[in-house]
């Protein structure tokens, strides 16, 4: 059920996208997210989708693997589609008992579902092509200007990277615990919502205990390696923007502006 989680995973491959500076990839992801909220027509989403497919190909990532990342979200995507389909007023195209499907609802539902799917793909691409260390460095560098207003840039970047790194691990852990509890007779997928919520406790307790144990082990390992936070910390590999990075940002910005203005 939870297999195919791509958010937070890194696929180490030699590709032009992998070689880009992490800051370029973070900025590009933000640009993609922004344009997904600006676009309101199918053509715009089609172009963005094609762009994302192009990036997946350039990153030499298996398309099936990347698309599998949408599987855990299928219920959310379905709810999004159905909510818009049945709850938007407009011209009636079909009727299912008391529920009315409208042309506007159909359009909005498909667009929202596409937006959600493309958002997840765009975000997954960042972590799939950037190693956790480079992601931390990139985030920290981009957050550095905010240090002047007291933002702990290094700590925030490190925290986000550790969180991203542990998302796939915690998914696996959750699946293992669910299977173990089901083997003991637990039922998470049927019954009233209140009963199912109650049944979550035997799942959540071991999940939190395991996560906190991992947190303690990681903290000890970091301290054993003399990690003392961002103060006075130097880097083995300093980030360096190349011509390819500037070109990628320029092309993407131009593409985003065109798509946002035209569609």
């Amino acid at each position: 059920m939870l297999d195919g989680i791509t958010l937070g995973q890194y696929v180490p491959t030699e590709s032009p996208i992998h070689n880009l500076d992490p800051r370029t990839k973070i900025i590009s992801s933000v640009l993609l997210i922004v344009v997904l909220f600006l676009v309101e027509g199918f053509q715009g989403y089609l172009l963005i989708g094609l762009g994302i497919l192009g990036i997946i190909a350039a990153a030499r990532l298996p398309l099936g693997f990347v698309l599998k990342g949408l599987r855990p979200l299928r219920l959310i995507l379905l709810i999004t589609l159905l909510l818009h389909l049945f709850m938007t007023e407009g011209r009636e195209i079909a009727r299912l008992g008391p529920l009315v499907v409208t042309y506007e609802g159909f359009n909005k539902g498909v667009l929202m579902t596409l937006r959600l799917g493309l958002l997840v793909l765009a975000t997954s691409l960042l972590t799939l092509t950037t190693s956790p260390i480079r992601l931390t460095d990139g985030l920290e560098d981009l957050l550095n200007p905010f240090k002047r207003v007291g933002l702990p840039a290094h700590e925030l970047a490190m925290m986000m990277t550790i969180a991203l790194r542990f998302i796939p691990t915690l998914f696996e852990e959750t699946e293992k615990i669910m299977k173990a509890q089901k083997a003991r007779g637990a039922d998470f997928e049927s019954g009233k919502l209140s009963q199912r919520a109650k049944n979550l406790v035997p799942l959540l307790v071991p999940l939190f205990v395991s996560a906190f144990r991992r947190a303690d082990e990681l903290a000890i390992a970091m301290e054993a390696r003399c990690y003392r936070g961002g103060e006075g910390r130097t880097k083995l590999h300093t980030l360096q923007m190349t011509r390819a990075d500037y070109l990628a940002i320029l092309l993407l910005t131009a593409g985003v502006i065109v798509i946002a203005v035209v569609f």
Partner: protein, 162 residues
């Protein structure tokens, strides 16, 4: 930031992303009109109240950033309110209030904050106050019961304002 606190903050942020994704995939979703909420999604933010207010704020903020990538702006904006609820809760725990009291005190604040934040996104006053506000309050109450049940078991390993 102390290493242990940093890692615990990160882990709770990761759980704040994982739990809604997993539980929505098995249908543990409350649907109240245009308002949807996943059961137990607030639990990591509630547990973050045991850390310092700064850490609790970061867990709320971190989960909001993740939600922005997955669910879009409105859900992210609502999730961003968790940062203030968690930080406020951590302050109250620091002042010696019990976890149950803190969750009860933050319930109306949580509902109010989420209903106010959706107004700029085109929600009507009714949708914001009744659907989102009341929906959030119910969601908070359900998650509060789950969080209190969990805390009973994991209390010995929980950090106390580390």
């Amino acid at each position: 930031m102390e290493t242990k606190r940093l890692v615990w903050t990160a882990m709770l942020t990761a759980l704040a992303v994982v739990i809604p994704l997993v539980f929505s995939s098995i249908g543990l979703v409350l649907v109240l009109g245009p308002f949807t909420a996943t059961v137990a999604s607030h639990v990591p933010v509630m547990l973050a109240m045991f850390l310092t207010p700064g850490s609790a704020f970061l867990v709320g903020l971190g989960s909001a950033l993740s939600f922005m990538a997955i669910h879009g702006m409105v859900v992210a904006a609502r999730a961003a309110m968790h940062a203030f609820v968690a930080a406020g809760g951590a302050v109250l725990i620091g002042r010696g209030r019990s976890f149950a009291q803190v969750l009860l005190i933050t319930l109306p604040i949580h509902g109010l904050l989420e209903s106010l934040i959706v107004l700029p996104f085109g929600y009507s006053l009714y949708q914001a106050l009744v659907v989102v506000g009341l929906g959030t309050a119910i969601h908070h109450a359900v998650d509060m019961v789950i969080a209190l049940s969990i805390v009973k078991f994991i209390s010995p390993i929980l950090p106390r304002q580390i």
